[in-house]
């Protein structure tokens, strides 16, 4: 039971932190872009936008920083055996992340409090360093997660770890694909969400220059990432196929080991009956995507011991949600690019509505993606090396801290939403003053 609460607490902390972490990566980019546009055009509206986004960044970065601190301690509080084993191996990306985080915090302090003290170019440079710090920070942390999926850089000799190589551990087989997938997800989710908020306001007041500028910059950050994400997803999928067959089988609901394995759209896996029902099946699709050949054999769950199965239904459904939303956002990106090219970005009411209803979708896909990678690795905490149940702390009564952090996170989320509404939306300038 304590294992379950430990997993819930970790999952909750990750799900909460990741929202703020990706905003801390992408919002400074928009803020710096708006400031650059102000420096180039001299239009005060861009400066107003940069300042509003910087206030949003200040609130969201702080919550991201403290919730990230919680995670770095929780690694030990909940999984001490894992950290004792993995600390030396994944410590290097975490140390590098420490410095990236330092740069982010230092230059964010300079940016937020330096509007009047720094000359405009230095101020913009500080903003750009915040963006870089955020991106590197995210990339380093993801390499640590990638190592859990594809552990590398050590040998096990009679249970003891030897030949520890932290560099090989950092560049584990899944690292590059996961880092690219995560960075693109961050920019796509945040860009589309911010664009969606302003699309809603543009639907009421189409010519408002403030919302037009915000909408355009947010789309410029979000849509290119959304367009590239399916390619990155394909790459990630191939890595999973090569390194984590049980995860691949679970996310596709593939029970039989077979050639010409189908790609399933939708469907509900039934682990007891060992079949996935109600899916639209594209013959040979999975074999083709996973191994580049429709005749390639895909290992199904039937050939993996039952006690090493991930929770198949949850993983498959999360995967469907992620892929479905990712595909929709890529369509949105192409649509937006066409409108932009024809100079009609703000004219199409249908596009504004489409972006508006997509506001939260990027974040839903992001959370679903983490469910895929984390649940898909179960029952392992380190794939093939250490089980999650072997890593959990002996501390009893873990329901209590889980309940405590649930309450704290719900409270923080409510306050943050209210503050962001107030900072960016409710007080946004009317047409005349912009």
């Amino acid at each position: 039971m304590d294992l379950l609460f430990a997993r819930w607490q970790m999952g909750l902390s990750l799900a909460f932190h990741i929202v703020f972490a990706v905003i801390g990566m992408a919002l400074p980019l928009m803020m710096a872009a708006a400031e650059a546009a102000w420096l180039r055009t001299g239009e005060a509206g861009y400066l107003d936008l940069a300042r509003r986004w910087s206030r949003g960044t200040a609130i969201l970065f702080a919550v991201g920083a403290v919730s990230g601190t919680v995670l770095s301690f929780e690694l030990g509080l909940l999984w001490p055996a894992f950290m004792e084993f993995a600390g030396p191996l994944i410590g290097m990306p975490f140390s590098l992340e420490g410095f990236a985080f330092f740069l982010e915090a230092i230059f964010l302090g300079l940016y937020l409090y330096g509007w009047e003290r720094l000359n405009p170019r230095t101020h913009l440079a500080a903003g750009i360093l915040v963006c870089l710090g955020g991106a590197f920070s995210g990339a380093f942390v993801v390499t640590a997660n990638a190592w859990m999926n594809t552990p590398a850089g050590f040998r096990l000799v009679e249970g003891a770890v030897v030949d520890v190589d932290p560099v090989a551990a950092m560049f584990s087989p899944a690292a590059a694909a996961q880092v690219v997938h995560m960075l693109l997800a961050a920019y796509a989710a945040v860009g589309v969400a911010v664009a969606g908020i302003h699309a809603r306001l543009l639907l009421r007041d189409r010519s408002n220059p403030f919302h037009r500028r915000a909408f355009a910059i947010a789309l410029a950050v979000g849509l290119p990432a959304a367009l590239l994400q399916p390619l990155s997803g394909d790459w990630s999928g191939r890595v999973v196929a090569r390194t984590q067959p049980a995860k691949l089988a679970a996310l596709e609901g593939q029970f039989a080991t077979e050639r010409y394995a189908p790609l399933r759209v939708g469907g509900i896996p039934d682990a007891d009956a060992r079949q996935t029902r109600y899916a639209i099946e594209i013959p040979g699709g999975l074999s083709l995507l996973a191994h580049g050949d429709p005749a390639a054999e895909v290992v199904g769950l039937n050939d993996i011991p039952r006690d090493l199965w991930p929770p198949v239904r949850a993983v498959h459904l999360s995967f469907q949600v992620m892929v479905g939303i990712g595909s929709w956002l890529a369509v949105l990106a192409i649509w937006g690019a066409l409108l932009w090219w024809r100079g009609r970005l703000f004219e199409s009411r249908l596009f504004l509505k489409a972006v508006c209803v997509s506001t939260a979708l990027g974040f839903v896909a992001l959370e679903a993606g983490w469910m895929v990678t984390e649940l898909g690795r179960q029952p392992w905490i380190i794939q093939g090396v250490m089980k999650t149940s072997a890593a959990v702390t002996p501390m009893p009564g873990l329901a209590a801290p889980f309940a405590l952090f649930t309450l704290i996170y719900i409270g923080l989320a409510a306050v943050v939403i209210a503050l962001i509404r107030r900072t960016i939306i409710e007080t946004s300038p009317a047409r005349r003053t912009a």
Binding site: S67, P88, M92, L110, L404
Partner: protein, 336 residues
């Protein structure tokens, strides 16, 4: 010639020192926000917020670096501390979350005093409680009641190792030192004479209290620890130097030489921390776990030291730039 275990331990203590001198003072600022009184109370709170606003997040990162160095360089120590000190660590985390969030919620929310007072109070209480538990953790690591194995009743394994008079006294000592640092620093940040006088009085009181708490901590220490603190070869010169800094800081405060008082107070707290570290050596966790036994493989230690060295080349100029911009009497900018 010092080996890589010793060097890494030195780096860890240096990181903790930075956290205490910088981040510790931010917690102390919260304590003085809580205790702000008199006609200048509102101005004191504004000065505290202005002083810590641009820097507290960067100062907080020292703690993250310390944790990372601990789990990378001394993974067994990290695992043991995380296991047996789960409860106080959890309380520290709650404090860190509430302190940081409340600070930005107050700074970036409505100016309505009913709103700012609530978040200001949460910021202040969380800032005051967190150092208590940080100190309790240091006390528990020092005192040596942490068992080797987690078998046994809950209270004996997860509560008794840290709920001791000694650990609690280290907790109070930590809070007093953080408050002392903050008050001394704030004398340079105050916007007028009256406010400066208030911070000076707080600095003098907490400076004297720090001496009292140091004596109590020593009295409550285990004989082995106490012996290390007073009878080692290095003990006498170190205590003389610490006392000289402490007396110097108080004299400078009395003579209103605030810049010198700042240097003396920071030196005093640094010496206290390094004195603790020397007592602790060669243990990571008394009495079962030495630094060597807790350490990661040698190539990992060396690589970590190299990464930290390269990182410092980027970090130090950036930090100097930040503090140069928002040093004493700085930070008068309007909020972004």
């Amino acid at each position: 010639m010092i080996d890589s275990v010793g060097l890494l331990a030195l780096v860890l203590v240096a990181t903790l020192t930075s956290y205490v001198l910088l981040g510790g003072a931010d917690y102390g600022g919260g304590l003085w926000d809580l205790l702000a009184s008199g006609t200048t109370a509102d101005r004191q709170r504004a000065t505290i917020a202005r002083a810590i606003g641009p820097v507290w997040e960067a100062n907080h990162v020292w703690l993250i670096v310390a944790i990372v160095v601990l789990f990378t360089g001394f993974p067994r120590a990290f695992a043991a501390v995380s296991t047996f000190l789960h409860v106080p660590l959890l309380l520290v985390l709650v404090g860190i979350v509430l302190r940081g969030s409340a600070f930005v919620f107050r700074a970036y929310g409505p100016a309505d005093p009913r709103y700012t007072r609530v978040w200001g109070r949460i910021f202040a209480v969380a800032s005051t409680a967190t150092p208590l538990f940080l100190g309790v953790i240091v006390g528990a690591v020092t005192e040596g009641r942490i068992p080797e194995h987690p078998g046994g009743p809950f209270v004996a394994v997860f509560i008794e190792p840290w709920l001791t008079p000694f650990s609690l006294s280290v907790g109070v000592f930590t809070l007093v030192l953080f408050g002392y640092l903050a008050a001394v620093y704030l004398t340079l940040e105050a916007s007028d004479v009256e406010e400066r006088r208030a911070f000076r009085r707080r600095a003098l009181i907490s400076g004297v209290l720090a001496g009292v708490m140091a004596a109590i901590v020593l009295l409550l220490a285990e004989p082995g620890v106490r012996h290390g603190l007073i009878a080692s070869a290095w003990a006498v010169p170190l205590h003389v130097a610490t006392a000289a800094c402490a007396v110097g800081a108080l004299v400078f405060l009395a003579r209103k030489q605030y810049g010198l008082a700042r240097v003396a107070a920071a030196a005093q707290v640094t010496l206290i921390l390094w004195g603790w570290a020397l007592t602790q050596y060669p243990y990571a966790l008394r009495p079962h776990l030495t630094l060597t036994a807790a350490a990661a493989p040698e190539n990992v230690r060396i690589l970590l030291l190299q990464v930290l060295g390269v990182g410092a080349v980027v970090l130090v100029p950036s930090l100097l730039f930040l503090f140069g911009m928002f040093g004493p009497r700085g930070g008068h900018d309007e909020r972004a």
